[in-house]
Symmetry: C2
Subunit: 194 residues, 2 copies
DNA sequence: CATTCCTATGCAATGTTTTGCATATGTATA
DNA sequence: TATACATATGCAAAACATTGCATAGGAATG
């Protein structure tokens, strides 16, 4: 178990637990917030991985009884887990998997009804604008922090900047692409810049 | 079999076969080229999916004997496959999975040696610059096409534009992030634009 | 008082992707 | 003449991810 080189959901979990111990439920929330911008995981997946991490000895837990609510299992990273995390940090990352169904649809757009394709693009525009708005709120929170808070949250904020840029760039592409498809037009210029 | 709603590697393969029949090997090449910019697949995966697609009746193949080399199985999309592909084209896409280990490392950068983190960023910069250069060559090819060729390749080119933008944007982020980490500095302004 | 949502956990089955191996020949390079 | 690389296919096992279900009580809404 856990003998393959790259694994990353496990390490994403270890990173979160290194910052602060928490239950599977907590982790699911935190994935939905911060780290979830660049690594998504369902609660089932998190519970499965916590089990595997326990078996590997990289995390440990204590059960906390709660009145009314079900018990919480509060996980924390172990010294072995920290060692493993540091090892992983030194190893080069694999390039992220690219899997965007929307681009397949655009690529093969001739097979679809033009209106369908346009509404798909509109839907994505809507979603990305919502995502960007949420990121902008978090960014504003960051800039309301004092000097020391900003220093402490510097690295997470740098990853948020990546998310903001990504959403902003995707929105621009969606807009330009939508317009070209609607007008049945060809792009006249290469993508600007570098 | 094949009863789940969203599946996309299968559909990416169907899209390629709709454009032109080919063997598993051919498809692996084509993934590496065009569609591979937004959907990557190893040859093992392609062979597995071709088998599943055959069993579902969405593709069919004939074996072509070759002198010297092993036989090729040339796959083509069936009428049922085309029906399925059109159905899939009308269904909304799931949002792409985000899984970027580099961002986990930046997020948790305090655990790592600063030099390690910087060289990781440099490595990514190098890779992305190479990717961007390759995209730019393909873009130049596109603009050398005549009016009719450009019209025919319009949609694939629009997806290439997405790739170019993405690489360009990532490079900018990598540069700015690298510099901030090197200088131990805080970003002074929110990400510009919208 | 019924319905829905939130907290909190998890199993079982299925589906997808990766990893590691295996085969076989032709052509080009050192 | 070794060695490597490109063509061409695939199996088996493990790892990873998704889907659907299940439990259970409290708090809020209608």
């Amino acid at each position: 178990m856990c003998n393959t080189l790259h694994m990353s959901l496990k390490h994403a979990i270890l990173v979160l637990l290194e910052r602060e111990p928490g239950s599977g439920y907590d982790l699911a929330q935190r994935f939905h917030q911060g780290i979830g911008n660049f690594w998504r995981a369902s609660h089932q997946q998190i519970y499965q991985q916590l089990k595997a991490l326990s078996e590997a000895g990289w995390v440990a837990h204590e059960t906390e009884a709660q009145k009314g609510k079900p018990d919480r299992k509060v996980y924390r990273i172990t010294p072995d887990g920290l060692t493993e995390l540091r090892r992983w940090m030194r190893e080069p990352v694999r390039s992220p998997v690219l899997r965007d169904g929307l681009l397949i649809k655009v690529f093969a757009g001739d097979l679809a009804d033009k209106q369908d394709l346009l509404s798909e693009l509109d839907l994505q525009l809507l979603r990305q604008r919502e995502i960007l708005a949420a990121y902008r709120l978090r960014e504003a929170d960051y800039f309301r922090l004092g000097e020391s808070g900003r220093r402490r949250m510097r690295l997470p904020y740098l990853t948020l900047r990546r998310g903001i840029r990504h959403a902003r760039d995707l929105i621009e592409w969606l807009q330009e692409t939508r317009e070209l498809i609607e007008r049945d037009a060809l792009p006249t210029q290469p993508v600007a810049g570098d």
